[in-house]
């Protein structure tokens, strides 16, 4: 008898507690009107950044395409007149992309970066294939100072060996004199 009363009381208590939830704050964020806060390092839409001089950072090394677990990146190396490498085309298929961020980790020049933009919806599946013109942004992204060709020892037109930042002049290894 006591256990029955206890059970009834327990159930009634549950009812009251659930009813009291009517006055609680709702957890849902009404999305299109209220945008959710996303941390700066959120992994969303992928962009290609430029260096501080406004040149493309991507040197078409293909590391991002190699590391991509779903193989959604494809690009073709080209070479400019001054000796810089650049991607002739750079294509990301966002219908395959899993936003793992491995491409960003692999990139030696910080060219490819993930941004906190997740609104990629399209009515036509073909529109999810982004070409270079869709990916390239005008800014520098997360690493504003970095410029690969100013730091790397690679010689290009207008910047011979030894002219890069913190780079000593090249040594003639066939000469014994110090």
């Amino acid at each position: 008898m006591f256990s029955i009363l206890k059970g009834i009381f327990s159930n009634l208590r549950t009812l009251v507690m659930i009813f009291a939830h009517a006055t609680r704050k709702r957890d849902t964020i009404l999305y299109p009107e209220v945008k959710p806060y996303l941390p700066p390092r959120y992994r969303g839409r992928i962009v290609l950044t430029r260096d501080p001089d406004g040149e493309e950072r991507c040197v078409a090394c293909n590391l991002c395409a190699a590391v991509c677990p779903v193989g959604c990146i494809s690009l073709q190396k080209g070479e400019q007149a001054d000796g810089r490498w650049y991607p002739e085309f750079f294509r990301i298929n966002f219908s395959r992309c899993i936003f793992c961020g491995l491409c960003e980790e692999a990139c030696p020049t910080s060219a490819i970066q993930l941004t906190p933009d997740f609104e990629l919806g399209e009515y036509d599946r073909q529109n999810l294939v982004y070409e270079k013109e869709h990916l390239l942004i005008s800014g520098t992204g997360k690493v504003p100072e970095y410029n690969f060709y100013r730091i790397a020892g690679l010689a290009i037109a207008g910047k011979p060996k030894g002219a890069a930042a913190h780079e000593a002049a090249p040594i003639d290894v066939k000469d014994l004199l110090p």
């Binding site: 549950t14 507690m17 659930i18 009813f19 704050k25 709702r26 957890d27 849902t28």
Partner: protein
């Protein structure tokens, strides 16, 4: 106009009133689909459907358009005639009970039926056929188990459902629902008949297969129970029948235990009576949804034990005591 007689006019008016009540009931049941989702969401700290139309009210329309255009597929392995009959049966028995209920003074299809309560019990008994035949004719294990559970649950709950109602009938001295309402002018039956109310409300929840007693459906074990094999509008019929059942049973609880349309001003203004009736019914509907939102589902044997070991003795005792009190004449009508 030779055939035009006053009785014909009266019949026409009665028919129109019945039509209004039917439309009101069905639209209330349809809106309840939206209302339930909103209320459940409210109690779970969510919003629920709030996009289509104001407050998401047009969600019902969207759902209806969707379900009308769904493919209504009858599996090849079912017992076809019975399979087609079952949802109709479920819907009809749910709708027919509303005939008995006086929604306001002078409004109601047949509140003066002199076997009102008995008709309700009979229709509740028939209502189980909708679920049971649906489950049997589907020729599928889950549906069969659902139908079986539905039949067993209804059998054991109908026993004390009738007995729990008899206390009310004894106090009111009539099976007519309008007399029962009239007998509650000064004191709602929920107070002298609290045990009967308790037992009957449990049986009422069980009779429409609502939450703690939704053994025939039990999504987690039986896919969807007796309507597993149904699709399209036939599933929709079962679905709406459940909500019609909720509205009807809430209206019945109001009528039998909460004084029907009685309330302040109801005697002078008939529409106030309807408002009181609607408010009380809404309260019970809300309780139905709250039950679903709050309680876990008991095991099948626990349901049976509750019915036979607790509710049946409770309602029997209630009947005995009510009868004794009425016979000795300390209260009564």
């Amino acid at each position: 106009m030779s055939g035009w007689t006053p009785s014909l006019t009266a019949a026409l008016i009665a028919g129109l009133k019945a039509l209004v009540l039917l439309l009101g009931l069905v639209s209330a049941a349809a809106l309840l689909i939206w209302g339930e989702r909103r209320l459940l969401a409210l109690w779970q700290d969510r919003y629920g459907p709030n996009r289509v139309g104001p407050f998401g009210l047009l969600q019902v329309m969207a759902d209806m358009i969707k379900i009308f255009f769904k493919e209504d597929w009858v599996p090849a392995f079912v017992d076809r005639p019975v399979f087609l009959l079952a949802p109709l049966l479920a819907m009809t028995t749910a709708l027919l009970v509303f005939v008995l209920i006086p929604v306001a003074p002078g409004w109601g299809v047949a509140p003066d039926l002199n076997v009102g309560v008995l008709v309700f019990l009979a229709l509740a008994g028939l209502g189980v056929y909708g679920a049971m035949l649906g489950g049997m004719s589907s020729n599928s294990k889950y549906a069969l188990l659902g139908g079986l559970r539905s039949a067993a649950q209804m059998l054991s709950y109908e026993v004390f459902m009738g007995i729990a109602l008899m206390g009310v009938v004894i106090q009111a001295g009539s099976f007519r629902l309008d007399r029962i309402v009239a007998a509650q002018q000064h004191l709602w039956f929920i107070i002298p008949q609290c045990c009967g109310f308790f037992a009957f409300s449990l049986a009422a929840v069980a009779s429409v297969h609502r939450f703690p007693f939704d053994q025939p459906e039990t999504e987690q074990e039986l896919v969807a129970g007796y309507h597993t094999e149904y699709s399209g509008m036939k599933f929709g019929m079962f679905f709406v029948a459940e909500y019609v059942g909720i509205v009807v049973v809430s209206a019945l609880l109001t009528t039998l235990f909460l004084g029907g349309w009685h309330g302040p001003l109801a005697d002078r203004l008939p529409w106030m009576g309807f408002i009181w009736f609607a408010l009380k019914t809404l309260f019970f509907i809300m309780m139905f949804i709250l039950l679903r939102g709050a309680l876990p589902r008991p095991r099948y044997d626990q349901i049976m034990a509750l019915g036979w070991k607790f509710c049946l003795p409770l309602s029997l005792g209630n009947l005995l005591i009510t009868a004794a009190v009425v016979l000795t004449g300390t209260t009564g009508v």
